[in-house]
Symmetry: C2
Subunit: 385 residues, 2 copies
């Protein structure tokens, strides 16, 4: 059901010929109200794509009525012409929907540097086509239209007490926090103010999408948007709503991890015993970005020395000669020295659990990553050709 | 000629059966004086191997009389027993050479977590064997005995005005600054004080080994040592000596880059127009660590969008819509937008030149890196097996 699971939303996904494959590539999601509360978080990359520059302005007043998303071109580093394309896309959608262009978020994904006149015309035509096809059952079509190198569409639904949250996501490469190369749209029919929407979204992305670090590369186009229609008439308990939203975000983040480009292992890095949560995140992220560790996991090699070498590059509070490391339930390293034989670790399954105990305090964090594989190198060496 | 090119040095490399291949794996370099000035720089990884912990103490008084190096085992995260092994190695060498163990630097390289009783006995036997075979022509043997996954030995010699600098290096994986996974020994017969030795070494490594970032992974065992024998009787002009030392260090760093594990391209990243040298280094390093950019170069794809995305993750002063990017002489991006067609870029040669002009100031820096290849993943997934 995706983003149309909550009441008050319509969506569509259509073919605009942006992708050479002829697959759907333009999606529109519309909030029919009665409320139009909206919030978004964006990539922290300082090199921001045109749709990010536009959408940052749109969400400032806390009102979002519609989102237009395209795959098949990132419209990033395409100059003033590219920004005009984003602006024209919002104008076109607003005109057809009878709303203000200043309430239309725009998202693009695909190759950086793509965004010429042909691209613009296809996006505008696709936007009109999608709006003509809007439907309360269109969530799945929209989820498929935002796929790039994704092998499957990603959707999630959470049912609360009289209200619902729905979400869709795309993302397969350039997955790193702040955020990942991903576009995410989350909808809810709960009654929320703009301020509540914003606070819940930031709290949820901080512990979900921001903890996904597949390949250490940060995108120029990342965006997660939450829209609330209030159509259920139910005002949720704040804690319950936040729990549900974290569930949806965590579920979508795990789907992104499982579909990461070329990956053969999904690695869950649990850092415990840290002095602070920031320390735990820093250590987890350092291990998640260590190519040697990631290549070892690809080779089913529980090379804990590379884990310790990665921890050693951080500023976190720890003593290398106190740290314990457990891989898939086997403690291969205790107090910074060898413990159980590495032969006891079975790395054949796709899911890998790495637990690092810093033995300093009580804070913890979970970081999701993938291994570094031949297929990752292949897919990313051939991406633009 | 390697480290025995300058007068006053003897070296040897022998087989101690630490490597399963039966190739040489223990080297000794001895400074016969009359001076024994020495200095070293070490990995900035906080998870330091036992030989690093030992050698940091040795060099504090500015006197180094000998170095024992082994490949075939890093003696890192091997606990108190491992530290005792390093200590015993220095004691053994000192006893046989008639010097103080406190003037014997020890270096180890190989798999982390390796360093049991068998390892210790082999290292001690190898040390004695190498000392029995010391020779003024032993530099090349020593250079071969420190190789790990290196495909060729790395040596360099610079002839000054009456004095000489010689060097040897090993390193092929885990190459990142602060320093790379490398062991380097540099010798000179110039007359230098300990303070001069230290100052020259820090100045030279800062612009050579510290600018090599092959795979972003920082080792636990890195060390660069400079020993001065004064045997030439020539006191060098400080500027001339520093120039020569930078030449040797840059030459060895380039040899490490060319032999990096699995690499198919050697990428020279030149950052110009930066506000400060630190900014230029930060930008170059960010690009050097971007897996997507590195995979693109492997695929002969001049994907400049990934360069800009990497720059955007830094704190350097720049405007993404002012930056120019040139790949192998073709300006593919100007003012943050597309310029020449990517088809004009020929990435077939192994050497790749990337020039990034931040258009802010006049500072610059050069960072050396490699592409991310199938072979890199393969070699590092199979390393410990």
């Amino acid at each position: 059901m995706s983003v149309t699971a909550p009441q008050g939303f319509e969506a569509a996904g259509v073919v605009a010929q942006l992708k050479s494959t002829g697959k759907p590539d333009v999606a529109v999601v519309v909030n029919r109200g009665p409320l139009h509360a909206g919030a978004a978080v964006f990539t922290s990359n300082r090199a921001k794509a045109n749709p990010i520059l536009w959408s940052e302005q749109v969400v400032q007043d806390g009102v979002v009525e519609a989102i237009v998303l395209n795959s098949g071109g990132a419209n990033c580093f395409t100059g003033a012409f590219g920004f005009q394309t984003t602006h024209a896309t919002a104008e076109k959608a607003a005109e057809l929907l009878g709303i203000s262009p200043g309430d239309v978020v725009v998202c693009s994904t695909g190759l950086i540097g793509t965004g010429d006149e042909v691209f613009r015309q296809k996006v505008l035509t696709g936007t009109a086509d999608a709006i003509a096809n809007l439907s309360a059952d269109g969530g799945q079509d929209a989820a498929e239209a935002i796929m790039t190198t994704d092998s499957v569409s990603k959707t999630s639904v959470y049912r609360g007490d009289g209200w619902t949250i729905g979400g869709m996501a795309k993302g397969a490469g350039m997955l790193a926090p702040g955020l990942a190369t991903m576009l995410v749209v989350i909808t809810t029919d709960a009654e929320l103010t703009s301020a509540e929407t914003d606070a819940h979204l930031r709290a949820a992305t901080r512990v979900s999408f921001d903890r996904l670090d597949s390949d250490g590369c940060m995108s120029t186009n990342d965006q997660v948007t939450l829209m609330a229609s209030g159509a259920s008439g139910a005002a949720p308990d704040p804690d319950e709503f936040r729990f549900g939203l974290i569930e949806v975000c965590t579920d979508l983040a795990a789907q992104l991890q499982r579909d990461a480009e070329g990956a053969s292992h999904d690695i869950t890095i649990q850092v415990v015993g840290a002095a602070t949560e920031d320390d735990a995140v820093e250590v987890g992220r350092s291990v998640a970005r260590n190519n040697l560790f990631k290549a070892a996991i690809f080779g089913n090699d529980p090379n804990w020395g590379r884990v310790l070498a990665a921890i050693g590059t951080t500023q976190a509070e720890f003593d290398p000669y106190a740290v314990d490391v457990e891989i898939n339930g086997v403690r291969v390293c205790s107090a910074g020295g060898p413990d159980r034989p590495r032969e006891e670790v079975d790395l054949a399954p796709r899911a890998v659990s790495l637990v690092i105990d810093l033995k300093v305090g009580t804070a913890s964090a979970v970081i999701l990553t993938n291994d570094l594989t031949h297929d990752y190198v292949h897919e990313n060496s051939a991406y633009s050709s």
